[in-house]
Symmetry: C2
Amino acid sequence: MGGDKGPAAIVAGLASFLAKDPSARAILHGREQDLTPLVNKRRIADRVEIRDCPDVVQMTDKPSQILRQGKKTSMWSAITAVKTGDADVCVSCGNTGALMAMSMLILRKVDGVNRPAIACMWPSMSAGNFNVMLDAGADIRADQDDLLTYALMGTSYARNGMGLARPRVGLLNVGVEEHKGRAELKVAHELIAAAADRGDFEYIGFVEGNDLPSDRVDVIVTDGFTGNVALKTGEGTANLISSALREAFNNSFLSRIAAAIAYTSLQRLKKRIDPRRVNGGVFLGLNGSVIKSHGSADPTGVAAALALASRLGKNGFSQKLAARVATATALAQDAQNDGAETASTSAKSE
Amino acid sequence: MGGDKGPAAIVAGLASFLAKDPSARAILHGREQDLTPLVNKRRIADRVEIRDCPDVVQMTDKPSQILRQGKKTSMWSAITAVKTGDADVCVSCGNTGALMAMSMLILRKVDGVNRPAIACMWPSMSAGNFNVMLDAGADIRADQDDLLTYALMGTSYARNGMGLARPRVGLLNVGVEEHKGRAELKVAHELIAAAADRGDFEYIGFVEGNDLPSDRVDVIVTDGFTGNVALKTGEGTANLISSALREAFNNSFLSRIAAAIAYTSLQRLKKRIDPRRVNGGVFLGLNGSVIKSHGSADPTGVAAALALASRLGKNGFSQKLAARVATATALAQDAQNDGAETASTSAKSE
């Protein structure tokens, strides 16, 4: 019920997803009287169960309100279905803050995770066309231990969601030199480097904002404040260029002809950088998978988020991540002790 | 001497700038035996004075090294020329950290400024085609008072560098709601709002990453860590799209024909978002104007940085900014006292 375009767009996206993924089934949470006609119209009633929920979380609701009064909402019902095992993955287009707060309350954090994170896909020049960045905005803070956990969780996501055997991890900073950046970044740098071998990833060190779409890294680790600003800056820049491009092609009779001729190529480009195709921020660090779809997602965007959910569900991602973090907690503890010593030594020599 | 492309690109850019700005003159700092033939070749010797400097700051030098050993460098000589009044503005393509450290040492901070900032131009949908963002990376930290100072300095820059009478100022955050973001941002929000009337700017409140290129704001205020990541993320995104666009147009015979037909429109677009045209990070908060040009600037980029320098020099920008901050310091002090009270009240009610 939570998207800006209402349940019709969500059911349309669901229908398109189900057509491409014949083994998938769905549980829809929301007002039955609204959902039933939409489901019947799309002829997917045999693969969809509807769970009637009287309330809807509003975009303007504060997380604290929601936790007190939200038990009859579609969001609560959807997350609970993951908790009980009725669903493998929850997908929501609703209020991000409320979704994260409710998910933490219902699903609980994985042992060893202090701050869960949101991982997002970033269009890139890498072989798979995408990089992963986390945290995209679950929390506005991350200390050195959180950043190490993000590296481990991001690696697990890249392995299970993107099929990368040995992901390359970078830590976002304002320069690649070791002496740059905030104190917690220098410590995290040591911690992540120390965990790389045992965590089975390659640590490439500090990366900068222009590396987010580059082909030299797969997983970019940062705090949720910086990550959220970077994500929205990338979106804003892409929008500016698209609108300038549209303007350029509408500029004259000749340029309109050119646009018509180049139609196929331009569509290919559009598809490549289309934010709808990479729709879906995955919550990492909870006992169960939750995906936040963009609030303004249209049917194409909703279908992309559902396809991602299906892939993660089939891989048993959430169990694998929990196991990885549990094993890593002990290792990280070691790495941290080693790392902290190295870091304090290097701080002295600075 | 500091650019990646060497002094030839800088002298070429200087020649192109001097051709467009008949009243301007320049002092070139660097190795005389390298510079003299370049200046003669461009036939600008009558408008250029060369100051021979044996040393050059390297990109890999640490600021601390430079401050101890840098007195014979071209960078030191160029900044000193501003200090002595021989030059109105210093432009350098060299090492940013060294340039800022040396500028602070030689020119000193303006009274009332704790952390100087680097302001950069951001291609945008605003009427003037650009927004200003600061700090783009002078410092990795900024507390609430620094953010207020950035708002005042950014306003002064927008007025003198871009001709905006009453700039619209926004504070970068992860959401526009008042309860979002870090503690120092909430306090800065109150401080900047309280200073708006007396500072003669319009405060539009929190903005997000996607507002950086938008037409609803002129000056975006943030700390140098976030600003630097955002700036480089924007550059990286623009590069990704340009290369995808080039690929799309080289894709087939038809698309190459289309590109040829749309050539003028595409050039117009390219010019609009060309980072070389907005080359020049302006150091704000020092007693004298210093502009950091991109290290990889080609002659077009160097000429753009020089044109900006000329505009600021003719406006007496650095004196105006100092006067503005001096007046504002007292006002800010008041605003801060008021603001701090409001902020602590609202923190309680949170």
